[in-house]
Each structure stands twice: as structure tokens, then as C-alpha cells.
Symmetry: C2
Subunit: 209 residues, 2 copies
């Protein structure tokens, strides 16, 4: 079962293909990559992938899933770098998200470009939900509230919206990459205005519009 290049059997063709496809998507985009080229990289014939994947979409979902896992892991590592209630914990979480989008823009686009797969594929949803739960946990600790409360979920979602939007806009070139100060000032704006404004405020669910 090892990955011997000489043997008739690849050893772990599924993982080998996923890695090949990942690199090709990063180079050409999700709808441009060719299966035949991934086969050539993995060193197999063009029919081999169909022993492991039903079709092209399943390959894409496999690559997206592994990307979701890497993002989730990166967020976990970033969170554990600082103790609870440390402001750098929230900032680090956002930074990990942005760093991932910057380092793997093609996969990031793929992950959030699969329109219907999020609802149908259970594995994708599970990993995505884990990341969401992590954000909620960190926000809950930060503002000292119950992790499951609607208030925390809403604020975590708001933070996620902000970071997620920033990722897509930077990927689309809406912010100049040759102006490194912008991102720092942006983080400072959110960190100084948004997060402190939350602390101890609106703890009661007042129905004010």
C-alpha cells in the first residue's frame, strides 16, 4: 500500500490525485483544470481517477473538503496561540483566515464557490460548522457571554462577515497589495471601534430597532 512509483498500483492514488488537482486549481482555477493533466502528474492513465471518484464534481468537492480542513486547523492553531480573553486571540483568528485566503486563493474561491454542495455534502458542512463553532467560542470568551446565545452567534457572524468580505475583496484586487499599511489600519479600526464597543454593551436583548 505504499506509494511506490515503479509498481503497477499507485499506492494512494486518491490522495495523490487530490494534491495534483489542488495544485492545478491553484494555477488555472476550478473550471479550467484538466483531469488528464492531473493524471499525468500522478503518473496514471486518464481513466484511473474514476476508480476513486464518480465524476469531476466529486474531485472538486474532495479538494474543497481538504481545504476546509486546512483552514479549520489554521484557525485552531491561531486561537491556541493566545490565552482566552486576550484581544490578540480574536485578531489572530481573523489573520489566520485572511492568510489562508491569500496563500491559497484558488482553493479559497473553490470552497465558497460551490453553490449547492454546501447543503448536499455532509462532510463539507461538518468541517464548515466546526470553524463556525470555533469563531463563536472565541467571541463568547472575549465578551464573556454564553457561547450558545443568540447574541454571541450574531456578533460572531458579524465578525465573520467582515473578515470574509475582506478576503474576497483583496482576492479581487479591490485593495492595493502594495499598500501594506491598509490592512493594519483596517484591523486597528475594527479592533479599536468594533470589539471594545461590544464589551459590556447590549448584553440585554432590548428590542430597540
Amino acid at each position: 500500500m505504499e506509494s511506490n512509483p515503479k509498481s503497477y498500483h499507485h499506492g494512494d492514488l486518491r490522495e495523490g490525485l487530490l494534491e495534483a488537482i489542488r495544485s492545478l486549481i491553484e494555477r488555472d482555477g476550478p473550471d479550467k483544470f484538466r483531469i488528464a493533466e492531473a493524471c499525468r502528474i500522478a503518473g496514471v492513465s486518464t481513466a484511473a481517477p474514476y476508480k476513486h471518484f464518480s465524476d469531476r464534481d466529486e474531485m472538486l468537492r474532495g479538494v474543497a473538503l481538504r481545504g476546509m480542513m486546512r483552514l479549520r486547523d489554521a484557525m485552531r492553531v491561531a486561537v491556541e496561540a493566545y490565552p482566552p480573553r486576550d484581544p490578540r486571540r480574536v485578531a489572530g483568528l481573523g489573520k489566520a483566515y485572511v492568510d489562508f485566503a491569500r496563500s491559497e486563493p484558488g482553493i479559497f474561491r473553490l470552497m465558497f464557490g460551490l453553490a449547492e454542495s454546501h447543503h448536499s455534502d455532509d462532510a463539507l458542512r461538518r468541517v464548515s460548522d466546526a470553524s463556525e463553532a470555533l469563531v463563536e467560542r472565541v467571541v463568547a470568551e472575549h465578551i464573556g457571554a454564553d457561547p450558545g446565545s443568540d447574541d454571541v452567534r450574531l456578533r460572531a457572524y458579524a465578525l465573520w462577515c467582515f473578515v470574509h468580505g475582506h478576503c474576497f475583496l483583496t482576492l479581487d484586487g479591490k485593495v492595493d497589495p502594495h499598500k501594506p499599511g491598509v490592512e493594519d489600519r483596517l484591523l486597528a479600526l475594527v479592533g479599536d471601534r468594533m470589539l471594545p464597543a461590544w464589551e459590556g454593551a447590549d448584553r440585554n436583548p432590548s428590542g430597540a430597532a
Copy 2:
């Protein structure tokens, strides 16, 4: 030059194809739509499109451009619904953005999924820049600052990040559509915490981290 269905010439095949492709993208997605089907809808042969577009990508860019224009126009209409410095102006701007993403999710994804086209296609960038300028103008009026200042641009960008992220996350089903109260509370959170916190604060660019 009229669009007579009986005549040999279509009349305005370019626009007819763009509309047909738009509807197909909305139904099947940007990478799934087939040119032949758009031709059937427009009532021409499969070779006809290539008299107006060089290739598939140019058709997609054409559809994306018209989408950008619709979004820009919707934002303009929303802005003009309220006088300057009215808080509903900023809220309406964001709402127009979200409404567009909800009503045309396929085109919205297409518009922000074209990775390199934003840099290469001048027409796309021009319309996108116009929308960006509009956001900056409204934010500048709202906080009573100079439209071209770095401060305004940063705050406008922060607002855009937030709204843009919310659009993508709702499209990906990250927020339950059967909970209409969520969006209102989200807008209230941003409106009550974020925007008022901006007014008259941090007008001086202090270097505090």
C-alpha cells in the same frame, strides 16, 4: 436593425445572447451553462455568437459587466432615496447590495468569481470603481469628512467588507433564510455600534495599534 424574429438577421443578437446566457447562468451556474442552449433560446445557430464574442470567456465577461451595471444603478437609486447624512442612506446602500446578491445569486457569484478579469478588463474595472466611489461618497457625507481622505476610504472599505461578506455567507447558506430577524438584528448591530462609533471619533490619524 430591429429585433424581427422572422428575418435572417437577428437585429441585436449580442444583447439577446447576453440575456439568454444570463438566465442560463442563473439557472445552472457560470461553468455549467452551454453556449448551444443560449443559441437555441436566441434562435440562431451555434456559430452565430462568434460573430460578436471571441470566445466563451468574453461572453461571461459581458454578462458580468451588465450585472455590475445593474448593481451600480441599484446602489445609486438606493442612495438617492434619502437625503445626505440620513442614516437610512447608508443602510439603504447596504440593503441594495444584499438585495442584488439575493435576487441574482448566480450573476453575483460570477461578478466576483472572475479572478483575473478584474485587472485585465477595463470596462469591468470602471463600473466597479464607480460603485466604490459611490460608497466612499456616502460614507464621507455621513461622517462629514473629505471624500478623498484615507480615513474615509478606509471606513468605506470596512463597510463594504462587512456587507460583501454577508452576501457571500448568505449565498452559501451560512445564515438561515427562515430566520428573517437575523438580518435586521445584524443591521441594527452595525448601525447602532459601528456607525455611531465612527462619528467624530478617530478623526486624527493616531498611530495607536
